[in-house]
């Protein structure tokens, strides 16, 4: 170690004091622990792929299986016609891939703190690293599954719209929503363990409240636009409809609706982070 570095380390002072009710998010602290986040994410991936016989292909198998089932039920049996004459399988896989990411991020993320209770009880690190690394590991799955979406689209010779560059923006909205809910539930879960039982139910409800199997752009067509605005309070409405618009030029969800979804996701995120930050200090006392 060279002298200036040694000096810098010697200067480092940690002050431990009772927490104030309102604390900064301390993203710098999280950044300082980025290698931990990296290794926790890597652990997630390694363990997930080592334990599954399909390995990495699991990331593709799962959405493919779901899309296939839905294509049979809704496309072949119920004859649901997605707007714009899109083949149902293409329509379904494009929404199931982001949906699976969101639902798994919420479910895995909400148990992340309890699962690693031993780490919380024995080591100091910014606790946000745990739900964050769960989410990041699922992003890898999402990236792999997106390739599947492209492949199926090409297979059905559906033209990819010129707005395709907007897809990441809609995905980001989905990531923010999933991360906010995962963070919030993970923190509540440390103190109230029965919340873990409610989360799968909430995810189920979200599934039907989000335009996964159907197009949400027709919501409120008969009852009035106000219903579509309310519907858009669920950020996933804009994520899924927006993604299909950007990919296949399906009906546009509406700028006001997207704005409502973005605002709703941001409120969720800020609320979740405030709660997490306040609860974080006492996680070790509860696990």
């Amino acid at each position: 170690m060279n002298p200036p570095q040694a000096q810098a380390l010697a200067m480092q002072e940690t002050v431990i004091a009772p927490p104030r009710p309102w604390q900064a998010l301390e993203l710098r602290e999280l950044w300082a622990h980025r290698e931990l986040v990296y290794f926790l994410t890597k652990r997630e991936l390694q363990v997930r792929y080592k334990q599954s016989i399909f390995g990495v292909s699991w990331a593709v198998m799962q959405p493919l299986a779901f899309a296939g089932i839905f294509a049979v039920i809704f496309g072949a049996i119920l004859h649901y016609k997605p707007p714009g004459g899109l083949p149902y399988l293409v329509f379904a896989v494009a929404s199931i891939v982001p949906w699976l990411f969101v639902s798994q991020a919420i479910q895995n993320g909400s148990s992340s703190l309890v699962q690693d209770a031993n780490l919380i009880a024995k080591v100091y690190f910014p606790r946000l690293a745990l739900p964050l690394s769960k989410g990041l590991s699922l992003l890898i799955d999402l990236a792999i599954a997106l390739v599947l979406v492209i492949l199926i689209t090409l297979l059905y010779s559906v033209t990819i719209a010129s707005t395709v560059w907007l897809v990441p923006a809609f995905l980001l909205l989905g990531v923010v929503t999933a991360f906010a809910l995962a963070t919030l539930f993970s923190a509540i879960n440390v103190k109230y363990r029965d919340v873990q039982l409610v989360v799968p139910m909430l995810v189920q409800i979200m599934f039907f409240a989000s335009p996964v199997l159907y197009s949400g752009t027709t919501v409120g067509d008969q009852a009035g636009r106000a219903w579509h605005y309310i519907y858009s309070l669920n950020p996933l409405a804009s994520v899924l409809d927006g993604m299909r618009w950007a990919l296949f030029n399906s009906p546009y969800p509406g700028t006001i609706n997207i704005a409502i979804s973005v605002a709703s996701a941001l409120v969720l995120l800020v609320g979740a982070l405030i709660y997490f930050r306040r609860a974080e200090n006492y996680f070790a006392d509860h696990v």
């Binding site: 009772p18 926790l40 363990r193 006392d285």
Partner: protein
Amino acid sequence: MSSSAAIEVKGLGKRFDIGAESGGYELLTERITERLRTLGRRAKTQEFWALQDVDFEVKQGETFGVIGHNGAGKSTLLKILSRITPPTTGEARLRGRVGALLEVGTGFHPELTGRENVFLNGAILNMGRAEIQRRFDEIVEFADIGPFIDTPVKRYSSGMQLRLAFSVAAHLEPEILIVDEVLSVGDVGFQQKCLDRMQGASREGRTTVFISHNLSSVRNLCDRALLLSQGKVNAIGNVSDVIDGYIGEVERDLPRSLRERENRDGTGELRFVDVRLERDGQVIDSPTTGEDCDIVLSYEADREKPFQRVNFGITIFALVEGSTPLLNLSSETAGAVFRDIPPHGEARCRLHNCPLPAGQYFMSIWAELAGVMLDGVHRAFEMTVSGGDFYGSGRQPHPDHRTVLVPHEWSVTEASRPDLDGPPADAGYRAKTSA
């Protein structure tokens, strides 16, 4: 405030609310019904200070011990200093990069290989990736696991897992190291290797806070020590003084002479006057785990004729922690029937392969006749058992698992699978009926 202090603690306190908001988790549904029931009234909470008004300083380069009974606040202090839980009052300042070690192998995952776990565990202990990379070979060599580094840890023996975990921890090089009782696991040889490394650490100018109830390792490792009692600082200073004070606190109400002891039970027809330990006819100070030891109880009585059918007994407790007996020895239960015993004599109890692990103990002794207590002395004698190799396996039990040792064997066999072999009982039945 001296500038050379690496750690400064002032007025540190930690309060837990017992009652409505007990530590640990609860159920949201329960909480809501509780709120509804106590609507308008304030839920009763009881306060408990696990730590209160704790002040101390640790100089740079010093090895500082923290001792105390279970529940004295040692682990709360450790968790506050390592930032796992915040204090309720006061503050602590730590100057330098802090590494805390409350457990070896935190975050080890059985599915991952040794190599993967080294990096993960290193990151958890806040070692940089570059730093682990640089020391990787050293870590593997220290752990002595050789070619198994790329095997999933679930296939390791527990000893190998422990050595690897400890090896990562031993290569942690912060300026301030906070360690819990982690040295006391593993085989004896490896323990020594780790202790040597730790002592090397203090020579390099590293500040170490060592929290333990293993008094002998605190005495060996530390310069100064702090004694916590019921969450408060009881004593602080030179390590020997503090430890002696602590032992004094434990012993306070123990008069040395058994003969003069007033506080005893029984009719007094027979009185114990001395207890001593022997091995092969030689008086010894401390028995060794796994080796034979005689406990000799000398007694007297104010009479000339012999006693009939006396039952002698010894109950052994752990010195510091103990209120639950660890071992109960009774002559009658052991099948020794004393028909005529002299009024002045010695009752000798031979303990084969002393089953007590290393540590400090006290014993209570008693003698009864037909269910009537003749003499009973609580805390009649104290002894320190030195560690030995009870199982001949080269290993000693973890000090957290302070129970008596019994000879036993382990084996694993494959379960018979009825669909392949057919149930043997059934076969036997058929054989009988056909005969």
